[in-house]
Amino acid sequence: MATVTMTVNGKSRTGEAEGRTLLVSFLREELNLTGTHVGCDTSQCGACVVHVNGEAVKACTMFAQEADGAEVSTIEGQANADGSLNTIQQAFQDHHGLQCGFCTPGMVMSAAALLKDNPKPSEQEIRNYLQGNICRCTGYHNIVKAIMAASGQDVSAVAAE
């Protein structure tokens, strides 16, 4: 066991981790931040995407001890200070970018990473960026639409198929 300290959503958090403890297990089980989901546990689905030092990573494929001293942001830190949904989250709600919501934390975190690098992505760029985020419900269409809307683009012409 080792003591691991990281800044999670702006607050310093400390907990215990074995060598094999995954970052996602540390967040969920040690820090009780269960918004980050585990869908596949095999680096395929992206339900576990969080940001480590500003970059999107799959928290099921990184050890907690690797994030010692890092800045981590998770879905729990995305809402505005007053508790209202942030722009991306609100766009997912407005454009029905989720059904069961299982993939949504990862989708929102991936979308946030994309928009940081590319503030006005095209539909194709969004689809390429989401290659590692799998959704079983929505067919992706409304997720892509929500991300376009969140980046301030007009989505009225995007058919609601």
Binding site: S43, E55, T61, L114, Q131, N133
Partner: protein, 262 residues
């Protein structure tokens, strides 16, 4: 996953010392190793993370050589090689997905030598040199069959030096489920030396298609290879494609790579 001790040294020397103990193994980005550990296919006593070693990260150019640290992520390679080394930038930008590219490293990919990994083809086609903590190894001598390389126990890849080609391209025909290449072809032109290397197809892993290299050396055009076909002997046959199908893809992708090279 079985448990293990975890160490994160900050210099190459410390990492080499930590790796000298029995049962120790290097950890790069973990994008291959962690899934293997989860399946209990591997049982190290200690993992030595290389991700805290600043001297193993980053891309620099030195004359006509691009020097890439062994701990550099695919995402960084994609960004840094853009503009000056088109084929390599494209190759890196097509590995996995953005989150995988933010962790996975070039050194980990080369050390692993998956028969369908992308980077080995770029190393072979350009005649790159793999630098370890103790020596330099030419790409032609590095890859040694499936998941096997010239690396000794505890030896780590600290960097890769690529002679930057005048023109290069990588064509990846994706296996749609894994998104690894079913076949990938890297073409690199340095004056009249042309390298053509194929991944995903060989039963012994990555290889150079010398017949195409010779045809392209005098005439770097898609026409120069349109009459060539690769034999299916020694190629992989599996549920995703027969050896004949892969042989056909090698021809098609080589032509496309030459036509697209920049």
């Amino acid at each position: 996953m079985y448990d293990f001790d975890f160490e994160k040294p900050s210099t190459i020397d410390e990492a080499v010392a930590a790796l000298s103990s029995e049962g120790a193994q290097a950890l790069g980005g973990g994008q291959t190793l962690i899934p293997t550990l989860k399946q209990r296919l591997n049982m190290p006593e200690k993992l030595v993370s290389l991700t805290g070693i600043a001297e193993m990260k980053g891309v620099s150019s030195d004359g006509g050589t691009m020097k890439i640290g062994g701990g550099t992520t695919h995402g960084t390679v994609a960004k840094e090689a853009k503009g000056s080394f088109a084929g390599l930038a494209k190759l890196a930008s097509l590995i996995g997905d953005p989150a995988v590219r933010n962790r996975g490293t070039i050194g980990g990919s080369l050390a692993n030598n998956d028969p369908a990994a992308c980077y080995p083809s770029a190393c072979m086609a350009t005649g790159a040199t793999i630098r370890t903590n103790s020596r330099e190894i030419a790409a032609d001598d590095f890859f040694d069959g499936l998941f096997t390389t010239a690396l000794e126990e505890g030896e780590i890849i600290v960097g890769v030096d690529f002679p930057v080609p005048e023109a290069s391209d990588y064509q990846k025909f994706e296996q749609p489920a894994s998104r690894f290449p079913l076949v990938g072809v890297f073409v690199a032109k340095h004056g009249d030396r042309v390298g053509v290397a194929v991944t995903g197809a060989g039963e012994d892993g990555v290889f150079r298609w010398t017949e195409a290299e010779e045809a392209l050396a005098g005439n770097f055009s898609a026409d120069a290879v349109s009459g060539l076909s690769h034999s299916a002997d020694g190629l992989i046959s599996d549920l995703h494609g027969t050896a004949e199908y892969r042989a056909h893809l090698i021809g098609v992708l080589t032509k496309r790579a030459v036509a697209a090279a920049s």
